[in-house]
């Protein structure tokens, strides 16, 4: 369950956004509407001028980014020197618990990861799959996907699959999109425009 109120000023742009809900959430908005700023503030990568971020009722607003259990995923998040299999389990191993092989295989096959090699050398779409799989297997409770579904082949099917996997792992996902119709792929839709959000579904 995510509950956040973010107020932040960046130069002439001022963000005043609210988001709350659970499950798989889509946040749609045009380029420059504030989606990335909002995600960074939630993840603890940018400071809030005012507001709060609560996960399952706990106020994580003053916690450092590495302790919030919120991971932000972008198309360039991948760690280039790791091999695919090491990368996917990296987050989990960071928490001290390597995921069982069966689980890793399941995630790999459902997300279409049937390739190997150094992640830095893969195509954008492959990198995105790897990063999304890594986030899924990590101990993070909340996954913020910022444009990281953008280079995928058969995107809608992938997102539906990711939604199921996230649900079964008990993780909340918020993904950003430029089109409101992506709301149909999610449990809830928030639209953000000029720094302000409204709930649309």
């Amino acid at each position: 369950m995510i509950d956040a109120l973010i107020r932040k000023k960046l130069g002439a742009f001022s963000l005043d956004a609210e988001i709350s809900g659970e499950g798989f959430i889509c946040r749609a908005g045009r380029y420059g509407a504030g989606k990335t700023t909002l995600m960074r503030a939630m993840a603890g990568l940018a400071t809030l001028d005012d507001g709060y971020v609560k996960i399952d009722g706990s106020d994580v607003s003053s916690w450092p980014a590495e302790r919030r259990g919120i991971v932000m995923v972008t198309p360039s998040s991948s760690i280039p020197h790791l091999e695919v299999d090491s990368h996917i389990t990296w987050g989990a191993r960071l928490g001290g618990r390597a995921p069982p092989n069966a689980r890793v295989s399941e995630v790999k096959s459902r997300l279409g990861i049937d390739f190997n090699g150094r992640v830095g050398r893969l195509s954008l779409g492959m990198k995105e799959r790897v990063v999304l799989a890594t986030a899924l297997l990590s101990p993070s409770r909340v996954i913020l996907v910022d444009e990281a579904f953008s280079n995928l082949h058969e995107r809608d099917a992938f997102i539906a699959c990711y939604r199921e996997l996230a649900k079964s792992a008990g993780k909340e996902v918020i993904f950003s999109s430029q089109v409101e119709s992506d709301g149909s792929l999610a449990d809830h839709l928030f639209v953000i425009e000029g720094g302000k959000t409204r709930r649309a579904a």
Binding site: R68, I70, V71, M72, S78, I79, W90, A135, S138, S140
Partner: protein, 260 residues
């Protein structure tokens, strides 16, 4: 007519004239076997060894600082880094003398623990670390600053703290930047004179037994403190340049390769 190119190359040539002069005269008209004597060769060896040791210390000690400065907005620390190299170098040598002097409380403690800076390899390396460390930091900062932060944010979100991120995410992917910064810093250490002429004019312990760093030896040959004279000093300088050149050029080649 590309005036920018012409003026640039001209300025560069001016800068390189002293080096060319030394190489030409040192191996040519003024060549003196005293300048390639065992004393000189051992000095060059000491310079190489001590600079390499200083480099190892720099990498271990200052890489986190370079990363911190690259990723945070710590203006105070950033300003302080340049201080050691903006004072006359001999006074850094004097500072180390005072620190480890039997007449000061700090010296009492250090000497009672057997830590002696004066005319030792330890003192030499410490002086080199102080003088070349800031160069290393300044060279590594842009290596870190120019990286996309997304993988670092990603690792943080999954629970990695900043130091863990430096070692597991950033450094494995910054190898050529690290090599380039290391070579620049080592070149700086090899050219040091002022601070080491005070704190470690000679290195008295095994395996050096009275050898000085190359810069000091060349000065000795020039001033007559060691019999030699101008010709020997010039020849020794040429020899040192030949040894130092690959290191400086190596830094540049690695940087170029990194950008391609």
């Amino acid at each position: 007519m590309n005036w920018l190119r012409l003026i640039s190359e001209g300025a560069l040539v001016l800068l390189l004239i002293p080096i060319a002069v030394l190489l030409y005269y040192g191996f040519g008209p003024l060549r003196d076997s005293q300048g390639l004597s065992l004393l000189v060769l051992r000095s060059i060896a000491l310079t190489l060894v001590s600079s390499a040791l200083a480099l190892a210390v720099n990498v271990l000690l200052f890489t986190p600082l370079a990363y911190h400065l690259a990723r945070s907005n710590d203006r105070l620390s950033d300003a302080l880094v340049d201080i050691p190299v903006s004072v006359p170098h001999p006074i850094i040598g004097v500072a180390l003398l005072i620190l480890d002097s039997p007449q000061t409380p700090t010296g009492h403690v250090l000497l009672s623990l057997g830590i002696n800076f004066y005319n030792t390899l330890l003192g030499l390396v410490i002086a080199l670390v102080i003088m070349s460390g800031p160069i290393y930091v300044r060279a590594m900062q842009p290596v870190f600053e120019s990286r996309d932060e997304s993988p670092e944010y990603f690792a943080r979100g999954m629970g990695a703290g900043p130091l863990r991120i430096l070692y597991s995410v950033v450094l494995p992917d910054s190898k050529s930047g690290l090599v380039s910064a290391s070579l620049v810093s080592m070149s700086r250490a090899m050219s040091e004179f002022g601070s080491i002429s005070i704190i470690a004019y000679y290195v008295l312990q095994y395996p050096f037994y009275g050898v000085s760093a190359a810069s000091v030896t060349i000065f000795n040959l020039f001033s007559g403190a060691v019999p030699g004279g101008l010709n020997a000093a010039v020849t020794a300088s040429a020899a040192l340049i030949l040894v130092a050149l690959p290191i400086t050029l190596g830094a540049h080649l690695v940087r170029r390769k990194n950008h391609d």
